[in-house]
Symmetry: C2
Subunit: 247 residues, 2 copies
Amino acid sequence: MSQQRTGPTDGPDFPDLPEATVARLPEYLRALHHLAEQGHDTVSSEGLAAAAGVNSAKLRKDLSHLGRTGTRGVGYDVSLLIDQIEQVLGLTHRRAVALVGVGNLGHALAGYAGFGSRGFRIVALFDADPGRVGEHINGLVVRHIEDLPEVVEQESISIAVIATPAHAAQHVTDRLVAAGVTSVLNFAPCVLNVPEGVDVRKVDLAIELQILSFHEHRKSALTALPPVQKPGRVGVANRLGGEAVGS
Amino acid sequence: MSQQRTGPTDGPDFPDLPEATVARLPEYLRALHHLAEQGHDTVSSEGLAAAAGVNSAKLRKDLSHLGRTGTRGVGYDVSLLIDQIEQVLGLTHRRAVALVGVGNLGHALAGYAGFGSRGFRIVALFDADPGRVGEHINGLVVRHIEDLPEVVEQESISIAVIATPAHAAQHVTDRLVAAGVTSVLNFAPCVLNVPEGVDVRKVDLAIELQILSFHEHRKSALTALPPVQKPGRVGVANRLGGEAVGS
DNA sequence: GGTTGTGAATCCATTCACAGCC
DNA sequence: GGCTGTGAATGGATTCACAACC
């Protein structure tokens, strides 16, 4: 009755990864590629954890969700682990991505080489401004937003990036969803309402800075006031990077 | 002996906000500004929660950490709440921000108007490429990275944005930290090692897409396979935005 | 009547610590 | 001896549900 978990050799089935784990797998993947380039072919949980900026217990727990991945006493096989993670993340083929809004930020994103090397291909650019339509960017022609349904269909696009002004973002989203897009990465500073089954992730520059601002505020409040010695709070300093800090 | 919590009238003291709450306050703030523009002067937890894309219980719990903020039976005073949140986030004065790396993305960030309106001022641009030094962007001159210490000092910069290639990011970070910067927003796809007391937040475009890719992968695996009826898993559909989705 | 603020209950994530395996 | 995989323990965050208040 249980719907046949695919055989043990058949690549990982679909484990129900915790969301927090999913969010970290890409970072592990990046670190692994880096290690592979440097010629490592195995790595310990300790080593990979350091390279990915997490602690080793968390890393091992995360990887344990993928099934048997390492070998005790040895560590993880780098290229094998890369395959397994790419498998789970659905990165076995390059996914087609549409980008809407070729203003300041959109231009930069369209030119970003990192997408290509990490599993994605920007295959279409859109803008609502007729003055922009027809412009060539990085080998692609900017098309009018009217053409969305057609292009999404033709190119099998399921993921879109929104880099429009905030006031246009919801409208654009509705059209994207209507055209069949089911995942959206939103750079506009606003919340998007989408129907069930559509995923949205948001990146907001100002919000990131405001979170940092909070910590700045707290830090200055603390140092301004008292030199209170909190004993036993010292240990575990973040290991420092390459060169000396003191110039 | 306890170090005098500032008086009750004296604006909010320094509550130890849960990190998850801190991360949401900026979104509430944005929503509140939007409501204020539209002329609302009070809002219920339900209303604000909808505008910020969270549920109302969470919103109330978050705001409760700031002390008494709303009035029962009525709701929250919009402009009062704005003040309170800006207070806690340390946004009472515009913070000076440095941006390092004026390539593709750096250019776009330097031109991003949203910073100005939301509590920040980009006051300095840096690059390592001498060919770029001297260039004018948005009223600022690009300076060589050698000048960091001097400028950071002069302009009281505590926050920096890194938009360099990955291979340069750690080195740049070390110099920023040495110059006195204590918060970093990192757009380079790599982990940064920093000493205790320095905060780093990271934004990685490809990682965001990879997380979406996972969900795409899962969705297609589910629809490809079985029409398994999971009873009682339906409810709570995401409310749909303005116009109809069906074109 | 309406809405906030909050204990209690639940859920999820992280960390600990060690048994099991190479 | 070294390292992974994992139960058990802890710690946070979310949700529930209602008393307190306007």
